[in-house]
């Protein structure tokens, strides 16, 4: 049993911190940051794999599936103590902001359209995750945005 240092970041899914039966693998062609070879799976079959380290991520292709691993993100301090991260509504895809439907102080309902992003020729509608009030809008029409970028901040919910 070994402790894992990386988390699976894509596809979203299992959080395994302890390795179980570590598979045997044979590396045919290692070069810095890049491995390929075959791995024996738990059921005895062998599968080919290709793994590449890119900065703080490791990308693994194995038998038609791909996985991305990264070390756990450091815990970031919220902008104000007690403010939940869910108050930040972040951009789901890279693209361009084509419409902003809310402004600071607007009251919004869960599921209401907030911002529309165009990415790879399709519209992605960013909706409010809950009822609330808009504290601030961080983007305007025409802005180029990236995945994870903050679009809208809701006023924190009162209570715990």
């Amino acid at each position: 049993m070994t402790t894992r240092r990386l988390l699976q970041v894509h596809p979203p899914g299992p959080e395994i911190t302890e390795a179980s039966d570590a598979p045997d693998f044979e590396i045919a062609a290692p070069s810095p940051g890049r491995w390929e070879g075959t791995v024996r799976l738990d059921d005895g079959r062998s599968a080919t794999f290709l793994a590449i380290r890119d900065g703080q991520q490791v990308h693994v292709w194995i038998a038609g599936e791909t996985y991305v691993f990264a070390p756990p993100a450091p815990v970031t301090r919220s902008r104000r103590s007690g403010q939940a991260a869910s108050d930040d509504i972040v951009c789901p895809v890279p693209g361009v902001v084509i419409a902003v439907h809310v402004a600071a102080a607007d009251v919004v309902e869960a599921g209401q359209d907030l911002v529309i992003i165009e990415s790879m020729k399709t519209e992605q509608i960013v909706k409010s995750p809950r009822d609330g009030t808009v504290e601030r809008v961080s983007v305007q029409e025409g802005d180029r945005v990236d995945r994870g970028m903050r679009l809208v901040v809701l006023v924190p919910e009162v209570g715990e």
């Binding site: 070994t2 299992p14 940051g33 738990d42 059921d43 793994a51 990308h59 292709w61 791909t66 890279p94």
Partner: protein, 502 residues
């Protein structure tokens, strides 16, 4: 008219590569155009000459009609191939090419204009005796007689864009109270994508299959159909998997739909390669005209594979004034072909577009396998253009054989750095409904297991262990937990240890 001496390809990605390959095989000189992010893209490298358009967005590059026509004239091209998308169905571009003395490889501007307008094209279909889906008049923002509009159609219904295509500007509306918002959203999307905000309503057929017929016509009006393509596996109204022949058609339905396709092409005065799209009601076997695409279709390779012909070559020859030497009797399909579109998107995240650098791109090969690709390893995939990276095509002597070949090819196609839909494609092809051929356009929505994130399993575990290993050694396979068991004999990997973990 004699054959062209030089053709400029006004497109990017896999279709630009595909067109350039045929032109080069025909002995025609080629020119490409490219945007800043595409400076190192395969299509720019493949052409005899490549010209920078300057800029990044589609509007300032591949949609800039004036720049492209100036470059075509400047390099001495006598024709322009528009591919699909961008300017392919833009009548102004086709007209401006003609005015500049360039042959536009596609139908006439009048035909493009007619077919690009869903209302007029529907009228043409009705005149040609082709069945159509019941629909409403046009709607634009500011008008609000939405109750009248929906009364004859009923819910659920579809909102569609007058100038739409590829699902853009399209919405399913289940309830009357959602109609207004859907109209506005579809209109806005259509205005931004096509510069035309007009939308309309159409009857929604719950269990529908999307089947299209390829047609080919020369300028003397000699018109053939090149059989069908089944395109029912769709997400966001965009096709993902196509096949020919269609498991949904029997000989009688096939011949009636083929006759409708030819009648439609003739009624539109069509010359060149085009595609007539139909909805087939899986419950009744009725079929309805949807639209006719006035360009080369994305999924044309499956027709090429089963009919053993080159669609781009025919497009070029017809545009150069040659007559179709094929007869309808000579159109005989051999075997079965499948196409899987490889999209940069997250199958586990609602198919959201994905970007990044292609750290690895290793296409499969093998019997019956063809890849039409527009990307190469190391390339940056940006949010500026469509998310389709390539099309994988598998031909086999029958349907099951082509599915088997496709699955094997998908399972041996490493792509890293950019999330793709390959894991989804593998699951879809292996699904019993796909295997049996009994699927419709609701296939993906009805089978959530196709897009559910993988559970903890053997592959996750093995991948996690490999990731730990490469992380701890930085890929040198020499440090930490690596136990060197034996040295490889001399060879390409000479000196590298064979490693076992832990």
């Amino acid at each position: 008219m004699s054959m062209f001496s030089k053709v400029l390809v006004a497109n990017r990605g896999e279709i630009a590569v595909r067109v350039l390959q045929t032109l080069q095989a025909m002995g025609i000189a080629t020119a490409a155009v490219y945007s800043d992010p595409d400076a190192n893209a395969p299509h720019a490298a493949l052409a005899d000459e490549a010209f920078a358009l300057g800029g990044s967005t589609a509007e300032e590059t591949y949609l800039d009609r004036r720049k492209i026509i100036e470059l075509a004239i400047g390099c001495g091209a006598d024709a322009v191939h528009p591919g699909y998308g961008f300017l392919a169905e833009n009548p102004a571009f086709s007209r401006e090419c003609a005015e500049a003395g360039l042959v536009f490889i596609g139908p006439s501007p009048e035909t493009i204009e007619l077919l690009g307008d869903k209302i007029r094209s529907k009228e043409a279909a009705i005149q040609a005796g082709v069945p159509v889906v019941p629909s409403s008049p046009m709607w634009q923002p500011g008008e609000s007689q939405t109750d009248d509009m929906s009364s004859e159609i009923g819910f659920p219904l579809l909102v569609k864009a007058a100038a739409g295509g590829g699902g853009r500007g399209m919405r399913i509306v289940e309830r009357a109270q959602d109609l207004e918002q859907a109209l506005e959203s579809a209109s806005r999307e259509s205005a931004s994508a096509f510069g035309d905000g007009r939308v309309f309503l159409e009857r929604y057929i719950p269990s529908a299959r999307h089947v299209e017929f390829q047609v080919l016509a020369d300028s003397s009006g000699h018109t053939l159909h090149l059989l069908e393509r089944e395109c029912s596996v769709q997400r966001r109204y965009q096709k993902v998997i196509e096949e020919t022949s269609s498991p949904a058609l029997d000989d009688d339905l096939r011949s009636r739909m083929a006759a409708s396709a030819v009648a439609m092409a003739k009624s539109a005065g069509y010359a060149n390669a085009g595609t007539v799209e139909f909805l087939v009601d899986a419950q009744t076997g009725d079929y309805y005209f949807l639209e006719m695409n006035a360009r080369i279709q994305v999924e044309h390779p499956i027709t090429e594979e089963t009919l053993r012909l080159d669609m781009v070559e025919w497009q070029t020859r017809i545009a150069a004034g040659e007559s179709l030497t094929l007869s309808q009797e000579e159109v005989r399909a051999v075997g079965h072909a499948l196409e899987c579109r490889i999209y940069a998107e997250d199958p586990y995240g609602n198919f959201a577009p994905a970007t990044g650098r292609l750290l690895a791109w290793r296409p499969p090969s093998g019997m019956g396998i063809r890849l039409d690709s527009g990307v190469s390893e190391g390339q940056e995939i940006t949010a500026y253009y469509d998310s389709m990276l390539a099309k994988l095509v598998a031909w086999g002597p029958d349907r099951q054989a082509s599915i088997g070949r496709m699955l094997r090819a998908l399972e041996s196609f490493p792509v890293l750095g950019v999330t793709t839909n390959i894991p989804f494609l593998i699951r879809a092809l292996a699904h019993p409904s796909f295997r049996s051929g009994e699927y419709d356009t609701g296939f993906i929505a009805k089978n959530p297991e196709l897009t559910a994130a993988t559970e903890v399993g053997m592959l996750n575990n093995a991948a996690a262990e490999i990731a730990e290993g490469i992380w701890q050694t930085n890929g040198t396979a020499a440090a930490g937990r690596t136990a060197t068991s034996s040295q490889q004999p001399l060879g390409p990997w000479s000196g590298l240890p064979k490693s076992t973990f832990p």
